[in-house]
């Protein structure tokens, strides 16, 4: 094991963490403001990826595709909010889970209908192609670094949005007191649609960026969704800060676990077995971390005041 290899894995972990943050931020915002659990958030991630891949293929430009992914995901989010989600705010969590589960079925099959069952591929834009030399002689893809930078930028943007703008003030008011925000004269229905669309756009952005690393296919959002759940359970539901911290923790723990555990075990048992046991253990690692954190802090590391 060289240091360069470890650095590479650490960066991969950061990149995964950034993706998870984009997903978890939307989920936690939607829960914090509207009290809604949205299983279909992974579908919006998929919508972003498909929109980006399809538009990039048609126009030849990744960047137009990226813009399209934001628009498509936000539009899909707003539409779903108007048609379905707003009927669920007063319902119990069971109804929310079922209705959004139904939305997953509709989104997944609908996408198959439109695009067929074969995966789409999305090329990395030329300007972000290639690799840079990192200390230790490591070649690391520019695109992955760009994702980390984009994620950091979005995190900063969200911070500014929530702490410095009128919209952010309304969001914070909505989180702390749903009745007060009505009294402030804010049109709460519009606010909810905007917050939902914003969360959807973040998920769509994540889907589009990852689409260039993996194949774009139906069902791609679901594993990410469940990891995002782990993230916000760890971070504390409703907390953006918790989502950021949890996302980086999960991203790095998962990636480093898969890298380190088999090597660690190889010190004690034959390599073939070490790979098998280490791999299986690594796949469970973040869930074990989640369980340990919950054992100490049942409401996550940064519990929101009201949740």
């Amino acid at each position: 094991m060289t240091l360069a290899l470890a650095l590479e894995q650490l960066l991969n972990g950061l990149q995964l963490g950034v993706m998870l943050f984009l997903m978890a931020a939307g989920l936690t915002l939607i829960f914090g403001v509207m009290g809604l659990i949205n299983l279909a958030h992974g579908s919006l991630y998929m919508v972003g990826a498909f929109a980006c891949a399809a538009v990039a293929a048609a126009t030849g430009s990744f960047w137009i595709g990226l813009v399209a992914s934001l628009i498509a995901a936000a539009a899909a989010g707003a539409l779903v909010e108007l048609l379905v989600i707003r009927r669920l705010y007063d319902r119990d969590h069971l109804d929310q889970v079922l209705a959004t589960f139904a939305l997953i079925l509709i989104f997944s099959e609908g996408t198959r209908w439109l695009f067929g069952s074969f995966p789409l591929y999305l090329d990395i834009p030329p300007i972000l192609g290639g690799a840079v030399m990192l200390p230790g002689g490591l070649q690391y893809p520019v695109y992955r670094l760009a994702i980390i930078a984009a994620g950091a930028l979005v995190a900063f943007g969200l911070y500014v949005l929530i702490s410095r703008t009128r919209l952010g003030m309304r969001i914070r008011a909505g989180e702390s007191d749903r009745e007060m925000i009505g009294a402030l004269g804010v049109d709460i229905r519009t606010l909810y649609t905007v917050v939902f669309a914003l969360g959807a756009a973040l998920a769509g952005l994540a889907g589009a960026m990852v689409g260039a690393l993996q194949s774009v296919q139906v069902g791609m959002g679901e594993p990410v969704l469940i990891l995002a759940f782990v993230v916000i359970v760890i971070g504390g539901i409703g907390s953006i800060k918790g989502a950021l911290f949890g996302a980086l923790l999960v991203g790095v723990t998962d990636t480093m676990g898969r890298f380190l555990l088999p090597q660690l075990l190889a010190l004690f048992v034959p390599p073939a077995q070490a790979g098998m046991i280490g791999g299986a253990a690594a796949s469970m690692l973040i869930y074990i971390v989640m369980a340990l954190i919950l054992a100490v802090k049942p409401r996550g590391l940064f519990p929101a005041a009201h949740a």
């Binding site: 209705a99 939305l103 099959e109 209908w113 359970v233 791999g279 919950l294």
Partner: protein
């Protein structure tokens, strides 16, 4: 005087028995398999109904117990077939009663562990955490190559039950059907018992239950473990039905489907899971015959039920649930 709901329950039970008998008489083996599938899914959902319907515990992780039951059957049968010892010198088996016992105990034990952590929380946390733990079991099954990993595990010959030829579809159906009836009986007893009172009261008003001196956590954890055991038993039967176990039994879609069954049928109703499983399998079969995009329409139907018909089929037919 029999209540309207009980009458409907009787009709549903009779229908589920009559269809495969008629199919047997007319040589349509396929419908027997369909009915067996209904019985097993209903059994799995009956387990979940105990936690979700009576206890209000929205577990999005019951696929874990279903899959653990399935793997218990698959692993025991594999060792029973090859003669390789399992662990601690114990051997495998192809006897269903032993397999069922192991499936129930294993699923209940994991249910106890998952429940002990998850039940410290409530609401959305509980939903997400049960989902996450089930996903953990799923990834473990995928990355552990000894029992097939991603490819799953085949059961070459269906396991044995008391000298009955289980390879004949009708015989196997009857085994599943009787098991389902026993589980429904158990559910009904528990619902009416002191334990059931405490469990249902904890759903309606947790603070009240604590204030009379009953700790809701212990009640819920016990219910969760029993619930997991029943769903695990269904998993073992499902493995024998397909003679195949794979990680898909553990997938979160499976957890979602089990909740959907209960909602379609009627939450907390004795025959809710049966009605739901019938509807679900019939949708799957009827819609699946017309379009390969049947899940799209299932999604629409489900959305309609959640938004506009919350009592499910039994709510529609038998009116609101009654308590003593």
């Amino acid at each position: 005087m029999i209540s309207r709901e009980n009458l409907i329950n009787l009709i549903l039970a009779a229908l589920l028995l009559a269809v495969p008998l008629a199919a047997y008489a007319s040589g349509e083996q396929f419908y027997i398999t369909l009915a067996t599938r209904i019985a097993i899914l209903a059994l799995a959902a009956t387990g979940l109904n105990l936690a979700l319907g009576l206890g209000g515990l929205v577990s999005f992780g019951h696929a874990a117990f279903f899959g653990i039951g399935g793997y218990a059957a698959g692993i025991l049968a594999t060792h029973g077939f090859s003669g390789d010892p399992l662990l601690l010198g114990l051997s495998g088996t192809n006897q269903m009663p032993v397999i069922w016992l192991v499936a129930v105990l294993a699923a209940s034990f994991v249910g106890l562990v998952i429940g002990a952590i998850s039940l410290r929380t409530s609401g959305v946390y509980f939903i997400m955490i049960t989902l996450a733990f089930a996903q953990m079991v799923y990834y473990f099954a995928i990355s552990w190559p000894a029992y097939g990993g991603e490819d799953g595990l085949s059961i070459l010959v269906r396991n044995q039950f008391a000298g009955i030829n289980t390879m004949r579809p009708l015989n196997f159906f009857l085994i599943c059907y009787v098991t389902l009836l026993v589980a429904l009986g158990l559910f009904s007893l528990i619902r009416g018992s002191r334990f059931g009172s405490a469990l249902q009261a904890a759903r309606q008003n947790e603070v009240r239950v604590a204030t009379v001196g009953i700790a809701p956590f212990r009640i819920r954890l016990t219910a969760f473990a029993i619930s997991a055991g029943i769903t695990g038993l269904a998993g073992a039967l499902f493995a024998d039905l397909n003679r195949f176990v794979s990680p898909s039994m553990l997938s979160w879609h499976m957890s979602g489907e089990l909740i959907v069954l209960i909602i379609l049928g009627g939450v907390g109703r004795l025959f809710g899971p049966v009605a739901g499983a019938m509807l679900y399998v019939i949708f799957e079969y009827a819609l699946g015959g017309v379009t390969e995009r049947w899940q799209f329409f299932l999604g629409l139907i489900l959305l309609g039920v959640v938004l506009f018909a919350r009592g499910g089929l039994l709510g529609l037919l038998a009116g609101r649930a009654k308590h003593g």
